[in-house]
């Protein structure tokens, strides 16, 4: 028996809002979270801009752990706002980014001087990314075996998809799922600069992330986290929880093609989206809106457009395609999770959020990307996609709670 799975709690930490309400308001208004890098001195790096989280207090060295804990707190409080916690034993499914590596610690590592406390030793030189998962499971008493996903830019979507499957199949009763990442550090930004992946439009930060625009020159790095609470629809109804949306289907697929470029026809992207539809038992005709991967890189955007045309056929030109990264940059392993929340908010309120900076569309990108301004657009189904460097592609199909 397959259970219907719904979202009953959401939490976000993003460059444009540290809670769901603020994130939603700024998403609808088209606010950019991109600015000069302040977390460290980028000196002469080719890229000196990013979408940073404006956190009010000092954060520990590995910011993604704090982001994940805060997003989990929000999501679980939200899911419990009706007065009861989700039923049964829950677990964590989290997409996480690279281990944080501190260049400052390298010299100290040579000198064999270890910090005194256990916590300091654990984060010395390199902070293992799985610490996030255990910290969430411990703080919020989630005893079901957790899963850590490292499928790069697809990890947040894969984490929610895997959690959906676990709850739908009855292998877990509820899950806290999403992604967290922060690569705005010297090695993170430097590594992307070294392979020419990031925008160098340093003079105009808010205009640098421009998915599907002819003048796009790479992605803008962002940071943050989003977690959602997934549970059986029957459980949610019985305990009177607010249902934000239903996860109707999930699919993922390999490109099996190139290390840094997508398959030229978007083979894996198409397969992932088609599998999400097949998993839900619906055809592409039901898709009312798409939350695109939309990185603002020269290679991704036209290939994603092709994959959407293949999936949606003639309807592709009439289905709004929104690129959240135009406002918050690319959150890498958290991207899919934050964008899933953006998609759920749009689905729930009947809004297609804007794609900023789409002034001069690339002729190879000729769909309706909702340029500049949000639009009222009632939806029953929305597709949210993530395509990773390295050819891992994932998609979620979300259904309106009342559909």
């Amino acid at each position: 028996m397959r259970h219907r799975v719904v979202v009953t709690g959401m939490g976000v930490v993003t460059p444009i809002g540290l809670d769901v309400r603020t994130f939603r308001d700024r998403l609808w208004s088209g606010v950019s979270g991109v600015g000069p890098i302040t977390l460290f001195d980028p000196a002469a790096l080719p890229t000196r801009i990013a979408a940073e989280v404006r956190w009010p207090d000092p954060l520990p060295r590995d910011r993604k752990i704090a982001f994940a804990l805060e997003a989990a707190r929000q999501a679980l409080e939200d899911a419990g706002a009706c007065g009861s916690r989700p039923r049964g034993d829950g677990g964590v499914s989290l997409g996480v980014g690279l281990e944080l590596f501190s260049m400052e610690d390298v010299a100290a590592a040579r000198a064999e001087t270890l910090p005194p406390t256990r916590a300091e030793r654990l984060t010395f030189l390199q902070t293992p990314s799985d610490l996030c998962v255990h910290a969430i499971a411990h703080r919020y008493a989630l005893p079901a075996p957790p899963l850590t996903h490292v499928s790069a830019c697809a990890a947040g979507t894969d984490a929610i998809g895997a959690a959906f499957r676990l709850v739908a199949d009855g292998r877990r009763r509820f899950m806290v799922a999403g992604g967290t990442d922060s690569m705005i550090n010297p090695l993170g930004v430097g590594g992307f600069c070294r392979i020419g992946a990031t925008s160098t439009a340093n003079a105009v930060p808010a205009r640098a992330s421009r998915p599907f625009d002819r003048a796009r020159d790479g992605f803008v790095l962002g940071e943050g986290a989003a977690l959602v609470v997934l549970e059986r629809r029957d459980d949610a109804r019985e305990r009177g929880a607010t249902v934000y949306a239903e996860i109707a289907g999930y699919g993922n697929a390999f490109d099996a093609h190139g290390i840094s470029e997508p398959h030229p026809e978007g083979r894996g992207a198409y397969q992932a989206m088609a599998r999400a539809l097949a998993d839900a038992g619906v055809s592409a005709d039901v898709v009312d809106c798409v939350n695109a991967h939309g990185t603002s890189t020269p290679k991704n955007d036209p290939v994603e457009t092709q994959a959407l045309k293949r999936l949606l056929g003639e309807r592709a030109y009439r289905v709004p395609v929104c690129a959240t990264k135009s406002m918050i940059g690319h959150l890498i392993s958290a991207a899919g999770a934050v964008e899933a929340v953006a998609a759920i908010l749009g689905l729930r309120e009947g809004i297609a959020h804007p794609t900023l900076n789409l002034d001069d569309p690339d002729p190879a990108c000729d769909l309706d990307y909702v340029p500049h301004k949000a639009r009222r657009h009632p939806q029953r189904y929305v597709l949210s996609s993530s395509f990773a460097f390295g050819g891992q592609n994932a998609a979620l199909l979300l259904r309106h709670a009342d559909a």
Partner: protein
Amino acid sequence: MDERPHPTADDPLVLTGLGVALGASCDPTPYLRQRKLRKFMGVQDDLAVIAAGRALASAGLAGAALGERVGLYLAVGYIPFDESDLETLHAASCEDGRFSMPRFSTSGLAAANPLLTFRCLPNMPAFHVSTAFDIQGPYVVTYPGAAQLYGALEAAAAALRSGEVETALVGGVAHQRNFLVERHFARIEPPASAGPLGDGAGFLVLESASRARARGAPVHGRLLACDVAYRPWDPFTEGIAARERFDERAADLDLGAASLPVAVAAAASGRHHHVLASRDGFEAASVWERA
């Protein structure tokens, strides 16, 4: 509608292929469909491609068009930076013995191996395996140890049972005998490792018995049972000792994410129990019958 029979109690999951690669010195070139990718590969990538290739060959799938009906379920180890790469980057980024951002952003970055980014991403072993063997099916890529491989195995079994895939390539890979990973284990108390750290990869090919029979595949064994439990713990204040055994023997080497498939591949005929209590709060066990 998928009309193919799915594994059930009467149609168990069988092991049709096994492959192992041990040690940090090995050449995956014969398995690569795109030889130009060789320069992007680190030790984890090499090990994963070789072990996957051996497993697929053992399953009678060498050179087969794997495509969309084969899924990859992979656990990868901690990120292994090569010390030489790090040394080069560090030396060119220091001023008066301290890290200097102006130096890093100019001479440091220029001196860095341009392939370093590709070699340290944890999803790269999955990329190289999928590309070398044209796997276009679904995947799980998890991290960082032996316990997470059980999560991948659970997902693979579910995908086979639901009919999402016909064949599941389940494996683990870990390059642990390097500066960064050795240092990571050394700083954990109580000692995190079940034995001396090793480098290795192991892959298992799982299919339903009916599917294996239909294509005339060799059957090397069966997965009889598998279970995972977890106790939440606070990594910043608490440490957990690690234990791992296969049958009654303690593991000779701690192969991290690769330990289960390597143990299963090395087992003699008969029934075997793999039992794991990991340093990260998991207790996992599986029962295998080798033909």
